[in-house]
């Protein structure tokens, strides 16, 4: 009697098993990576109602972050500036630019400009700007090189493990408070400076849940 299965059929179960292992590993790895904030959130760059360029204002013109984001040292929000802040300059400069039509309209009607939020934490997580910038966490540490962004995008994952990385090792990231808004700040020896600053400013970032979740 002829054999029902050819010889290579012996290897089928082994190959299937191997294939399954590879597939499952790829699946887990895929979800691990592609479902994570690193992949899904980083790079989010929605189109804004007004094509405001941080590259031009913060980069080329070198306007300090606080000129617009006035409350960052005092409040949990850095504050998106009121139309009035735009008009401080644009009442004189580029007064008929079509890009600024919405700004002028807002100024005339009193209706706010509807900006799209880029950096969005879940509702159960509370972040306080003042608590961070006052101890020397630089703007760019979380927001990236804003001075190089034509359109603002999310530069960092803003995930919990990313937050904890700094809360556990603040010396890797902190800088002198007067350098907070500096873009592209680089310490000669970050760890040495960081340790000094952590000791000097009593930086003890808490890592228990209710630091952020309540």
């Amino acid at each position: 009697m002829a054999q029902i299965f050819p010889k290579w059929a012996d290897e089928v179960p082994q190959r299937l098993l191997l294939g399954l292992i590879i597939f499952m590993t790829a699946l887990v790895a895929g979800i691990w990576y592609y479902f994570s904030p690193e992949y899904k959130a980083v790079g989010y760059a929605p189109e804004q109602p007004v094509p405001y360029s941080h590259q031009l204002h913060a980069g080329k013109l070198d306007i300090d972050c606080q000129y617009c984001h006035t409350t960052v040292f005092e409040s949990q929000f850095a504050t998106v500036p009121p139309t009035q802040t735009c008009m401080n300059c644009h009442a004189q400069i580029a007064t008929d630019s079509p890009k600024l039509a919405k700004v002028r309209e807002s100024w005339e009607t009193g209706e706010p400009i509807e900006w799209i939020r880029v950096h969005n934490l879940p509702d159960y997580a509370y972040f306080d700007h003042a608590a961070h910038v006052n101890v020397g966490v630089g703007c760019e540490s979380c927001h990236g090189r804003i001075d190089k962004m034509e359109v603002v995008y999310q530069a960092e994952p803003l995930s919990m493990s990313w937050c904890l990385d700094c809360h556990r090792n603040p010396e890797k990231y902190v800088r002198p408070v007067d350098e907070v808004t500096t873009m592209g700040y680089k310490a000669a020896n970050q760890l040495e400076l960081g340790r000094k600053l952590v000791a000097k400013n009593n930086i003890n970032p808490p890592t228990y849940c209710q630091t952020c979740h309540y």
Binding site: R117, N120, Y214
Partner: protein
């Protein structure tokens, strides 16, 4: 530990006392019946629609990126820092008394009400109405537009109508208005009376102050406001006066603060006032009495006269009563009270309930004058807005005039008299005789539907106004937000009738205040706005003397000797929804009533003996389903569930009004029974000639008294002042149980400070020294049991309302509950209150059993609940010996968003600094971690990173901040000099369930009572 070994043997409910099956079953089930079903879909959804709220899109953040928009100002208002709420001073008008408050305002959105710390009346404190009034602002059932004959109209149309109709100054107009102390309002009132000579003005309040004013008129010949200064009194005698209850007094915050001050004992040598209460039903105030005499309301008058007669032998000024005697003259209390009052001349207060007839008020005023209390502990002050006319009588005359065709137009300002007027006054029928009926109100209610014009009123947080506190401190009512529905304020409404122009309330108020501040107006106005009050000057005190007519009148009182045979019916305002004006406020509906712990319903309260006589069995056994009784007064019958109230006077039934609305709103319409039909002009307080029958039908009551029970363990400790002085450590574990703390001896052997545990706790040295360590203490001696803490917590922490059906299953969500215990015989027990929030145990049993570590300990000693980790096993709730954890069985907060008609409005009421919880998540008291964190961050920034420990007294939990009795202490226990550390050193300090070795951070100061040994 068996229950029998505990002394005294506290009990919460009749079911517990009778050890009935239903109670045992409730107690021993892990979760109440139907813990996983939801059958009553319709009502639940409707409640949710009205109450729950949340921010859209929570929970799906992982699947789709929600697009959120940021809308900045176009011009940033000065001082606004988004993220840092501003606090503005204003005042909450309750009848004609303002309560000084401040409002937490998040970029133009008022979110939380607190007492104004600068205001001597409120002293930074509030009551339940003040706390809950903010929910009325965001109530989607508020009237949103003007209606003409029921059809939608506009404010402009109404203005045109006014300009036209009221151009004829000969119109015969009757104004029926809420009591209002506003000088601007009263100025417009005077101008209206001047312009329309045929107009009449009637101030109408269903539970107003009129009888008290008439009483002083009889005694002193002047309508004066009686102000009791409870902190100055050594002896207080109350005849049915529920003076701590906001439903029964306009000055509850100040009364509670002062009463608590007189009771605060932090060392054995400190003095404590003695409070006697004579009352029929067990009131909130009566539950704080040192000696309480239960007595039928209809007998109280005679009892008072017997006391006056006895006093007349020793003091002058009561000669009308000399030689008088009645059936109470031999009562054992009469000589005791007489002795106490005579020993404390000038240091005592005699007071009588607001709704008792003027005769009693007159006699009480005369007694206070005769004892020398007048001018010391009791003052009689002249309030300019209190009219010299007897409004109650004129209101009855109005109907006659309407029926005779003598009135062209009736203007109702804010009141709802079709619902609240005495039943024998047929207002509804008489209104058809007027050409125009105009009604300004918050809701399109029973009166609105009878009116030709309904005008929607602006909430007090939306409109400019002014007025006086109860004692006479003048304030400006400052709006916090533009009217959400273009409502019209009282002042603008009157101005429209007067001038045909809406005008601007701001200008009208300023115009009035220019006369107060003739010089430097702007500076003084701004200072008043900022502070929330114009100085501490109160109404001028009048030096009173007994009027010549008093004796003759007193002889009239004493001549009538009413017998009080049979059962009486007492009608009172409701403890939580007052006369019905707060009926659509779901926070107040779901707040357990201070004594009965009933929510969402009104009941007929009676003693066990009366219930037995009526054959009302289920209520007497403490079951959830109770018999409905029918009560008939003057041919009108109302059916209402019966409820046994321990300590209620026999042969007396107490009902409350305000329930059973029709067409007011979705919350109000669903709850309770309208009992106003039993209240007639003759029987404003009580009726004696009534008949009561048991209908035999059963009705389910949602009562929380047996929920979250702690199995009879000794969690409450109290003693008399005498016992405390003899044994200052009476509240220790050893004294309470007569045994050493379990594990203490072994711990000593092992050289440990406290009993050892198999669980890992953070040791003291593991708590970092840069963190504060939070702790709380609750002084049961000053706590009066009012429930303000529960509401303040609800407002601060976005706690949802869940509706009657869910409450009856034991799922109420309040993070701090107030347990009420009885001690003694069911006929006449004493009552004790104990607020219970999370204990924040250092060795928390909940933390040991959570499989996902969603509840853990923070480095500043808070037992944290992390919502985003919680998977809803409820093991923690089951393992919590204090029963303080609350579970979101349904999506209480958010579900309504899918079909609510106005969800954004309710979202606006939410505190943006607290997460709105989702279905399947456990929650509980957080020690207001959002406030704690804020204070730590601010301190860190202020000190340039030197410390993050807030200054002692700079951080308050919501319950602590609101508590009018100042019974809650909170602070850093690692600082030995902090207030909380000192309080915890007090010898009355004890830990709840200390024997379980959970090491709670919340502790209690045992309660003291100061009864007269002669009445033991």
């Amino acid at each position: 530990m068996s229950e029998e070994t505990l002394k005294p043997n506290y009990w919460k409910s009749l079911g517990q006392l009778a050890k009935n099956e239903e109670y045992e079953k409730f107690l021993h089930r892990e979760f109440p019946e139907n813990g996983s079903e939801l059958t009553d879909d319709v009502s639940r959804r409707s409640f949710l629609k009205v109450m729950g709220a949340s921010i859209a899109l929570a929970g799906f953040a992982a699947c789709r990126r929600p697009v959120q928009k940021i809308l900045p100002y176009t011009k940033m208002p000065e001082e606004v820092l988004p993220g840092n709420p501003l606090e503005y001073a204003t005042a909450f008008p309750f009848m004609d008394a303002l309560e000084g408050i401040t409002v937490e305002n998040h970029v133009g959105r008022p979110v939380k009400i607190e007492g104004n710390r600068l205001h001597p009346g409120s002293g930074g404190k509030t009551n339940i109405f003040g706390q809950a009034s903010i929910l009325n602002l965001y109530d989607p059932d508020r009237s949103k537009f003007v209606r003409r004959d029921g059809q939608r109209s506009t404010v402009e149309d109404f203005r045109k109508f006014c300009a036209d109709y009221f151009s004829d100054t000969g119109r015969r107009i009757a104004f029926v208005a809420e009591a209002n102390s506003s000088p601007t309002y009263n100025r417009l009132e005077d101008q209206i009376e001047e312009k329309f000579p045929n107009a009449q003005w009637i101030t109408y309040e269903p539970f107003g102050e009129n009888n008290a004013l008439e009483g002083t008129n009889i005694a002193f010949g002047q309508r004066l406001r009686t102000i009791n200064w409870f902190d100055k009194a050594k002896v207080i005698v109350s005849f049915d006066d529920d003076f701590l209850n906001p439903a029964s007094t306009k000055n509850s915050v100040e009364n509670t603060r002062q009463f608590a001050d007189g009771r605060r004992v932090m060392a054995t040598e400190e003095a404590m006032s003695r409070f006697y209460s004579i009352e029929s039903t067990y009131t909130l105030t009566g539950s704080n009495a040192d000696n309480r005499l239960r007595m039928k309301t209809s007998d109280i008058e005679q009892f008072l006269y017997a006391l006056a007669a006895e006093l007349s032998n020793s003091v002058s000024g009561l000669s009308a009563f000399s030689g008088y005697s009645n059936q109470f003259s031999d009562h054992e209390w009469i000589p005791v009270l007489t002795e106490e009052l005579l020993d404390n001349r000038g240091d005592s207060i005699v007071t009588v309930g607001r709704m008792h007839n003027p005769d009693l008020h007159a006699v009480v005023s005369a007694i206070n004058k005769a004892l020398g209390n007048a001018g010391n502990t009791v003052t009689y002050n002249e309030a300019p807005h209190l009219s010299d006319r007897n409004n109650q009588i004129r209101f009855s005359e109005l109907v006659d005039e309407l029926n005779n065709g003598n009135i062209d137009a009736v203007v109702f300002v804010g009141t709802n008299p079709v619902f609240t007027a005495p039943a024998d006054i047929n207002l509804e029928g008489a209104l058809s005789n007027a050409q125009q009926v105009i009604h300004l109100s918050d809701y399109y209610d029973e009166t609105s539907s009878e009116a030709n014009w309904h005008v929607n009123r602006a909430h007090f947080l939306e409109a400019w106004g002014d007025g006086f506190s109860y004692t006479g401190i003048r304030s400006i009512v400052q709006p916090q937000v533009r009217p959400l529905y273009d409502g019209v304020s009282d002042i603008e409404f009157l101005n429209m009738i007067l001038t045909g122009e809406q005008g601007n309330a701001y200008d009208l108020v300023q115009e009035t205040w220019r006369s107060f501040y003739p010089n430097n107006f702007t500076t003084q106005w701004e200072q008043t706005l900022h502070d929330g009050l114009a100085g501490e000057e109160i109404f001028p005190e009048v030096s009173v003397s007994i009027s010549g007519n008093f004796n003759a009148r007193a002889n009239e009182f004493t001549a009538k000797k009413e017998s009080s045979e049979g059962i009486e019916l007492v009608i009172r305002p409701d403890d939580t929804i007052f006369d019905g004006r707060f009926a659509n406020n779901a926070w107040l509906q779901e707040l357990p009533k201070p004594m009965t712990k009933i929510t969402w319903d009104n009941v007929a309260l009676m003693s066990k003996k009366t219930a037995d006589a009526l054959g009302v069995e289920a209520a007497g056994l403490g079951k959830a389903e109770v018999e409905v009784v029918s009560i008939t007064v003057d041919g009108t019958t109302v059916k209402i569930p019966a409820w046994v109230q321990p300590g209620h006077a026999d042969d007396s039934i107490t009902i409350t009004v305000g329930y059973g609305h029709e067409g007011m709103g979705r919350v109000a319409d669903r709850a309770g029974v309208n009992t106003y039909p039993l209240r007639t002009t003759e029987h404003m307080l009580y009726a004696t000639d009534i008949s009561v029958e048991n209908t035999g039908t059963l009705y389910e009551i949602a009562c929380t008294q047996d929920h979250h029970s702690v199995e009879g363990r000794s969690i409450l400790r109290h003693a008399t002042l005498q016992e405390y002085r003899e044994n200052p450590d009476f509240s220790s574990y050893f004294e309470a149980y007569g045994a050493d703390l379990p594990g203490e001896a072994y711990a000593e052997e092992q050289g440990a400070d406290s009993p050892l545990s198999i669980f890992d706790a953070m040791n003291e040295d593991e708590y970092p020294d840069y963190e504060p360590q939070w702790g709380m203490a609750i002084d049961l001696n000053t706590c009066v049991g009012c429930g303000t803490c529960t509401l303040a917590c609800q407002a601060e922490n976005n706690i949802p309302v869940i509706g009657k059906r869910e409450v009856s299953r034991g799922r109420e969500m309040h993070w701090i509950r107030t347990d009420r215990y009885y001690d003694g015989d069911i006929a006449d027990p004493i009552a004790l209150h104990q607020p219970v929030p999370c204990m924040h145990c250092e060795l928390a049993p909940c933390e040991q059993v959570c499989p996902v570590a969603a509840t853990t300990h923070s480095e500043d000693g808070i037992n944290q609940m992390t919502y985003n980790r919680c998977i809803g096993t409820r093991y923690c709730e089951n393992n919590c010996p204090y029963k303080v954890r609350r579970f979101n069985f349904f999506n209480y907060s958010e579900e309504f968003l899918t079909d609510g008609d106005d969800p954004e409005i309710i979202q606006m009421a939410m505190n943006p600094n607290v997460t709105v919880r989702f279905r399947g998540v456990m929650e509980k008291c957080t020690y207001c971690v959002q406030r704690v964190n804020r204070a730590k961050i601010n301190r860190d920034i202020e000190t340039d990173g030197r410390t993050m420990k807030p200054v002692d007294g700079s951080v308050h939990t919501a319950c602590q901040q609101a508590c009018p009795a100042d019974a809650i202490y909170f602070g850093d226990i690692s600082d030995p000099d902090s207030e909380i550390s000192r309080v915890k050193q007090n010898n009355r300090n004890y830990l709840m369930l200390e024997e379980l070795n959970t090491r709670p951070r919340t502790s209690y100061l045992a309660e003291l009572r100061n009864p007269n040994p002669k009445l033991a």
